[in-house]
């Protein structure tokens, strides 16, 4: 099976977010970038499926910039076979539909049968590219998946829903988005890191994919705001017995939450 895994470059989760000079995006100076944590589960799942089937290919796909190549290399070091990067300034990173459109074009070009993604990117948290991708391709989809098995002719996915799980029988080709808990991503071995240097990363433009620039925009970002700072809290003094008495009193009378 030819498996695609979509990966995204995101700021390290330790990053403190500041409003950037345009007032609409986060400042990215001095920020270190990582592979989106949810995408690591997708890469791992792709590798495990290939290993289990004993054949096939795992192709990483990304829409990004020059620095995204480094993120792709880390996925290649985990064991993916090769990578395709769509790098074109005409793609609007604030428009998930545009990103999904470019990914879909790569999926078609590569003739993939299964595409794995992280359930969301931990940057702008759009939470929709996997579903948009499936929609554009007209494929089956299962999102927020914590367990996946490949069975004859299809997939059985366990989807996380509020207060439980949904068991979804899914035809192929399909797009599956990974939730934490799906697996434990492997670390790249030294051998893997060395091998990754020789693996190919194809860089494509929209034109190479036969796509015109997107004409219709869904929205524009007006501004980026930081959350209002919380009022200074109160440390409750005294012995534990006194502390808990004051707390229950304050929760009832002042905060009115009990």
């Amino acid at each position: 099976m030819k498996i695609g895994v979509c990966v995204k470059k995101v700021p390290d989760t330790e990053t403190r977010i500041k409003v950037g000079p345009d007032g609409r995006h986060a400042a990215m100076d001095g920020v270190s970038f990582i592979m989106n944590p949810y995408d690591e589960f997708a890469v791992e799942e792709g590798l495990q499926i290939k290993e289990k089937l004993g054949q096939g290919e795992v192709v990483l796909i990304a829409v990004g910039d020059d620095e995204t190549s480094k993120i792709l290399r880390s996925g290649l070091a985990m064991g993916a076979d090769r990578a395709v990067l769509v790098n074109d300034p005409a793609i609007c990173a604030d428009e998930p539909y545009d990103v999904a459109r470019a990914l879909a074009a790569v999926v078609r070009k590569e003739g993939l049968q299964l595409v794995l993604c992280g359930k969301q990117g931990v940057g702008q948290d759009f939470q929709q590219v996997p579903a948009l991708l499936a929609g554009i391709l007209g494929w089956a989809q299962a999102s927020v998946v914590v367990k996946l098995s490949v069975e004859s002719g299809g997939l059985l996915a366990h989807r996380e829903i509020e207060g439980g799980e949904e068991l979804v029988r899914c035809a192929l080709p399909a797009v599956v988005s990974a939730q934490k808990g799906l697996n434990t991503p492997r670390f790249a071995s030294l051998k893997g890191i060395m091998a990754a240097k020789k693996k190919s990363v194809d860089v494509l433009s929209l034109a190479a994919l036969g796509l015109p620039a997107l004409e219709r925009r869904s929205w524009e970002i007006v501004r980026l705001e930081l959350p209002p700072s919380r009022p200074a809290g109160r440390v409750l003094e005294g012995e534990p017995e006194v502390q808990v008495k004051s707390l229950v009193e304050l929760l009832h009378r002042e905060a009115k939450v009990i």
């Binding site: 914590v146 799980e165 929760l251």
Partner: protein, 323 residues
């Protein structure tokens, strides 16, 4: 010219989800200012007709699929038909697993992106402005839609479910699925054991961190949660150590929550954790380290040994409730 709202209600085992009622009430609130009808749509039988009508829809469409199907492909196909015929300016749902998935699939049909997890919906000069958390709540984007329909999911527990008297027309619709390919079909739903309260929908949450020292002490968190009628959560450290299930993780790469009361027990307050819970109304921190960052966001801080404080707190709460 498209106008009005189409609100997709989630029907879980015959009951409309609370988040759906919040979305309906939020749509009514904006529609009262902008005009345009509010149409609610729900799949299958249940309490929607009797319950959802109290939250302000002008029309309630109760849709029955023929043949019956539990499949996102069926829901998206039928919703697309109604979006095409009703031409709403805005399509809304609650940001649950169902709502996020259906509306994303629906948006794709209309070559559009969507706004997930919106926490504020306001009008500025007659135009809709939407606010949504980014970087797991470390910042918020304010967005102006440029095309219609606008697809939006609203974060549960943020918008009030206000009841409003409106003359609602309830209609039953039968929609054929002949020729519709169902690529993904739900075979079964497995509810979590013990009827646990869902984190993202909880009014109160008690979370445990590394300070609880081991999985054998997590029942202490559960006992405190039980007294408060709260959901239980955990920090990433506790989840990654394998002490509790990943579904309980609060913070970036876990759940973002905004309950009325959040009790952080033995949690130091790493930036990823704070991002996921700092919109809670009232935060209580119990930690032995007075310098822990969690105290910077806490309304009430208790510095001390959680193994002494929590049992006492359980007893104090029981005594309070007995009065």
């Amino acid at each position: 010219m498209s106008q009005g709202f189409l609100v997709v209600l989630e029907n879980r085992s015959g009951k409309v989800k609370k988040g759906s009622l919040e979305a309906l009430a939020a749509a009514r609130g904006v529609a009262n200012a902008t005009g345009g009808p509010v149409t609610a749509i729900v799949f299958g039988a249940g309490d929607a007709a009797s319950r959802a009508v109290r939250f302000g829809p002008d029309r309630l469409l109760q849709v029955f699929l023929e043949p019956e199907a539990a499949s996102r492909d069926a829901w998206i196909e039928v919703l697309a038909r109604f979006v095409s015929s009703l031409e709403p300016a805005c399509v809304l749902a609650s940001a649950t697993a169902f709502g996020k998935d259906c509306l994303a699939g629906l948006a794709a049909r209309f070559q559009s992106s969507l706004l997930q997890d919106v926490t504020e919906m306001t009008l500025e000069g007659g135009h809709l402005l939407l606010k949504r958390p980014v970087y797991a709540g470390k910042a918020f984007e304010v967005v102006r839609p440029l095309s219609q329909p606008v697809f939006i999911t609203l974060r549960p527990n943020v918008f009030p479910a206000l009841e409003r008297e409106v003359a609602t027309v309830v209609e039953e619709k039968r929609e054929s699925l002949a020729g519709v390919a169902l690529g993904a079909v739900i075979e079964a739903i497995r509810e979590s054991a013990g009827g646990k309260i869902e984190l993202t929908e909880a009014n109160a949450i008690v979370s445990g961190g590394r300070g609880i020292k081991g999985p054998e002490h997590y029942p202490l968190i559960e006992k405190l949660a039980e007294v408060l009628g709260a959901a239980t959560g955990a920090s990433r450290a506790v989840v990654d150590a394998g002490w509790v299930d990943h579904q309980l993780q609060v913070g970036q790469t876990g759940k973002t929550v905004s309950p009325a009361l959040y009790l952080a027990v033995g949690i130091s307050g790493a930036i990823q954790h704070l991002a996921g819970m700092s919109t809670s109304k009232c935060i209580v921190a119990i930690n032995k380290d007075a310098d822990a960052p969690i105290f910077k966001v806490a309304n009430y801080g208790l510095v001390g040994d959680l193994f002494k404080i929590v049992p006492l707190l359980i007893e104090e709460l029981k005594a309070f409730q007995a009065n």
